[in-house]
């Protein structure tokens, strides 16, 4: 099997594993999802029994899982009890906003940390290196929640950015240009918080991977043959250092999505985060599972993109492919 096929298989296995894990947890949970409903005197036991059989909660785990799997293949992730609506469209309408936030943040993070990390490694021990080190080790040790709350407080206090939600109240009446401006102004704060949290982590990894290649014997040899510093960096070091950096892109997605959930809740960004939190608080089984599946889907998708980029950028992998055939 070739490289991409293997990766694709891995992605599918991962998604199956995640969904199986979710269902396993539902089974482990003590009590039932209708416990809180049962306490409500306005709902009769017959209604609850009907709901139970309607959602198939009476059946054994494997049957439920099989049924869910079958419908999930048709993009039907079940039914939300709290919203009284199918889960998939509900999630998708929010997932778009999460995607907007995370892709914006991801682009900014890499645009910042690539040059910073490469520069810091190239001028090891220099002023910029020291500054990057200090700032990143400080930021890394501060919990995301604190960064988010602190920046939010600053933004609200000085009225710098638009805070809360994704659009202003008068959004419908605005011209297209003003609409775009409005969304960007709302996007700025959550995106900035995410960039601040994640760049600190990624800069360090980029710096480390470039440093590692810089110390390799073949780079010393190239330097000995008189390669100019620029040629050394761009021709000999960066292509090799790109491999761990691209792998990191895939890994960093998990952190970014977690951070995004937190930031969305704190800033009131209408993404998946607040929806999942609400679903958790109201114990909306299929909505929670659907939300986790969506986040896993993003992860797997991002990792696949990273794998394709790896194939495109790293000749060693293409070579392996050619040798295998």
């Amino acid at each position: 099997m070739n490289y991409l096929g293997r990766r694709l298989l891995r992605a599918v296995l991962l998604l199956i594993g995640v969904s199986a894990l979710c269902f396993l947890f539902t089974e482990m949970a003590p009590g039932s999802f209708f416990d809180e409903m049962r306490l409500n005197p306005q709902i009769s036991p017959e209604t609850i029994a009907a709901l139970r059989s309607h959602y198939g909660l009476g059946q054994p785990l494997l049957v439920r899982y099989g049924r869910w799997m079958k419908s999930a293949l048709h993009a039907d992730l079940g039914y939300s009890i709290a919203y009284n609506a199918p889960v998939a469209p509900l999630l998708w309408s929010r997932a778009k906003n999460t995607l907007l936030l995370t892709t914006t943040a991801l682009l900014l993070i890499w645009m910042l940390s690539l040059p910073l990390g490469v520069w810091a490694a190239n001028r090891r021990g220099g002023l910029l290196d020291k500054m990057v080190n200090l700032a990143s080790s400080f930021l890394v040790s501060i919990p995301e929640l604190v960064i988010a709350v602190a920046l939010l407080a600053i933004a609200v206090r000085w009225r710098m950015l638009r805070v809360g939600g994704m659009m202003s109240a008068d959004f419908e009446g605005l011209s297209p240009w003003a609409k775009l401006q409005d969304v960007v102004l709302h996007l700025a704060l959550p995106a900035f918080i995410l960039v601040l949290c994640e760049t600190a982590v990624i800069v360090r990894h980029v710096r480390a991977s470039v440093l590692e290649v810089l110390g390799a014997p073949y780079v010393q040899a190239a330097r000995g043959f008189g390669a100019s510093p620029a040629r050394l960096l761009f021709r000999h070091v960066l292509p090799v250092a790109a491999n761990p950096a691209i792998s990191l892109l895939g890994f960093s997605l998990a952190g970014l999505l977690s951070g995004s959930l937190l930031v969305e809740v704190v800033c009131g960004w209408p993404g998946l985060g607040p929806l999942i939190l609400e679903a958790t608080l109201s114990r909306d089984l299929y909505l929670v599972i659907g939300g986790i599946m969506f986040s896993a889907l993003f992860m797997v998708g991002g990792n696949l993109v990273a794998d394709i980029m790896l194939l495109a950028f790293d000749p060693r992998i293409r070579r392996e492919e050619a040798d295998a055939h």
């Binding site: 991962l14 995640v18 979710c22 939010l152 609200v156 805070v163 999505l257 608080l281 992860m299 990792n303």
Partner: protein, 349 residues
């Protein structure tokens, strides 16, 4: 280097001692409400009054003044009532509490005479003393972090040892599962697992539930790292020699392989504790963790989700500051452990 380590150790010990003796240092019970003093600002400690300078510091009582200009304003603002001074006394009797959870006592580090109140960090919406809540909340949050770390490391090292030592299909399947756990965004996962568990429980059960969930999600990384160490030490010559002399699996693990993982586990613990403290704080912030009226740093911060409170009452951010201090101390500690471990392993080569 030595002094830096000494300072670090002092800070580390200080933090935990302060939290351990929270009842003694806190002047009040964390759940006592003063309904007439909602959102009182931090008390100002004075040394000087109209009669001159005093060696013993004192505070004034807050009297609330409604804003006359805005009749609909529901927010109180406060003014110092200068008519009466309340000198701060040390080692006083106050509300009784259980020291270290064992001994019933009413000794407090400091306090002022009734009816005065010493509210060094201000109060929250119910007029509860923020400092007392901060200390007691810290007890819960940090203990949750440490317990969750313990669970994660215990589960991780057991599974890591099994995977590394026995290898083959056990190793492959266990590592497959760790990959599953590592590839998920942990906060989504945490919320998901939390969703399947009951929301309203007694504090003690919530505590163990939370730490259990956090630890359960976190076992994967330590398991991988421990597996790596076990894998590399399994075939060292002295291990092979011990095996040749008839050492059992259990003996080899206990005597030769486990000690190799201690440095790694210590570093991991210092890395994980602040992360799991933050996880508890995040969950409680979302309203999924420790419930009111018991304080935790997370549920203390959760009132700040309302922007008006966030902006007007800056002293309610003190739990965030405490969280930063805790995280920084632990992460510097992790750095020290890490560099020690690295220099040790390079020496050995």
């Amino acid at each position: 280097m030595r002094t830096r380590t000494a300072i670090l150790v002092a800070l580390f010990a200080g933090l935990h001692l302060v939290l351990l003796f929270a009842g003694f240092i806190a002047p009040y019970d964390p759940t006592t409400q003063n309904r007439e003093l909602p959102y009182a600002p931090p008390a100002r400690v004075h040394f000087k009054d109209s009669s001159g300078f005093h060696l013993r510091p004192f505070v004034y009582a807050w009297t609330s003044v409604r804003d006359g200009d805005q009749p609909d304003s529901s927010q109180d603002s406060y003014k110092e009532d200068r008519s009466h001074e309340y000198p701060i006394r040390f080692f006083v009797r106050g509300p009784s509490y259980k020291l270290l959870g064992i001994r019933e006592t009413s000794a407090h580090l400091f306090g002022v005479g009734e009816p005065g109140k010493i509210l060094l960090f201000g109060t929250d919406a119910y007029g509860r003393d923020e400092l007392s809540r901060l200390l007691f909340g810290g007890q819960i949050s940090v203990a949750a972090g440490i317990t969750a770390t313990f669970i994660a490391l215990l589960a991780g090292s057991i599974l890591g040892i099994i995977a590394g030592y026995y290898g083959r299909w056990i190793d492959e399947s266990l590592m497959g599962i760790t990959e599953l756990f590592l590839s998920l965004p942990w906060l989504y996962f945490l919320l998901g697992v939390r969703a399947f568990l009951p929301l309203h429980l007694s504090t003690i059960r919530t505590f163990f539930l939370l730490t259990g969930v956090i630890g359960l999600i976190g076992w994967a990384r330590p398991a991988r790292l421990v597996r790596g160490v076990v894998l590399s030490s399994r075939n060292r010559n002295y291990v092979l020699a011990a095996r040749g002399f008839g050492g059992s699996d259990f003996y080899l693990l206990r005597r030769h392989i486990l000690p190799e993982t201690f440095g790694l586990l210590l570093t991991q613990a210092a890395l994980l504790v602040p992360r799991y403290v933050a996880a508890e704080v995040t969950l409680s912030f979302f309203g999924l963790g420790v419930n009111e009226p018991v304080p935790s740093w997370g549920n203390m911060l959760s009132t700040l989700q309302q922007y008006s409170i966030l902006v007007s009452y800056g002293w309610l951010l003190t739990p965030a500051c405490a969280l930063v201090v805790t995280s920084v101390i632990y992460s510097v500690l992790a750095d020290v452990f890490h560099s020690r471990l690295k220099s040790y392993s390079t020496e050995k080569k």
